[in-house]
Symmetry: C2
Amino acid sequence: MKMIMADLEGVFLPEIWINVARKTGIEALNLTTRDIRDYDVLMSRRLAILKENHLTIQDIQAVIATLDPLPGAQKILNWIRSCSQFIILSDTFEEFARPLMAKLGFPTLLCHSLSIDDQGNVTDYHLRVDNPKQKAVQAFQGLNYQVIAFGDSYNDIGMIQAADQGFFFQPPDTVVADFPDIPVTRNYDELKSRLTRLLNDS
Amino acid sequence: MKMIMADLEGVFLPEIWINVARKTGIEALNLTTRDIRDYDVLMSRRLAILKENHLTIQDIQAVIATLDPLPGAQKILNWIRSCSQFIILSDTFEEFARPLMAKLGFPTLLCHSLSIDDQGNVTDYHLRVDNPKQKAVQAFQGLNYQVIAFGDSYNDIGMIQAADQGFFFQPPDTVVADFPDIPVTRNYDELKSRLTRLLNDS
């Protein structure tokens, strides 16, 4: 049996932190896993910036609530879920993602979590496990699933390489240059064609 | 982080085979895991009955398409999915479940699959893995999730006992008598109260 696993931001949703940077005017929040591969370094930097700028979880959620899924995301997700089981693997945080997951019809999301104090300050973040995407793929293979996985960035490489069938969706050129052997899809039509073929392969 | 895992039939959906028995008038199809604990024995018997009665996958799907989720199931599921991640663990088959999963908004379902020939005859069934529910709970614990699990019958015991918090939902008296130490919820209000408490426990 097959299981489709996919990244969230850059695939179905806009990059959350980039949009928080845009709407708050804080340039330094523009960094993503595309720029800094070490997620721990990236997150520590982001939390320090939030603290310096006195931004609470409510401020960030107010920005996130104004975002929408990428054009066509809901349609392709509905199609995927009508013909296969599907789980999203993301390095986002439950507390950030929830309003946007509602807009996607609550597909299952495996990600991380935050600590928030009584004043709404984000005091810490909790990475659920090391290499969470790769380990999720391997856990499902252990349950006898053939995993099809796709994502757009460096933090998807472990997942894509561990999957039975893995490929990029709309990756930046730098990522493609670093991993030239991984197949690339560039829009939802190409994604649908590839998934149709992979789901029908026995 | 927490993950809620639950059984499907008897919890959110009516028992599919019992309804196929009712609508086709084939008494022998009334058997479920509540009656025969060995799922392999049960399924071999069911497939033999389908063959004897010349019932195709189309016949069965036509019956299943007339079924609806249990009253209140969609509402409680929407609530669960708005406040936690959630996966259904079932011993049903993808081919049977799909029309009903659409009515539930396509929560992720881990189950089994069938082989169907060109004439629509169900020629075989494939159990994805031994003890699938228990192994799914353990796989998620390996991904650093605390698992809350509930179900109504014998094939849920491994899942309920492996979970960090496990309990029955609307179990028959025979199951409760055999496992008196497992807590019991008897309707969606009780389920919601218990889940609220378990999700808020740190």
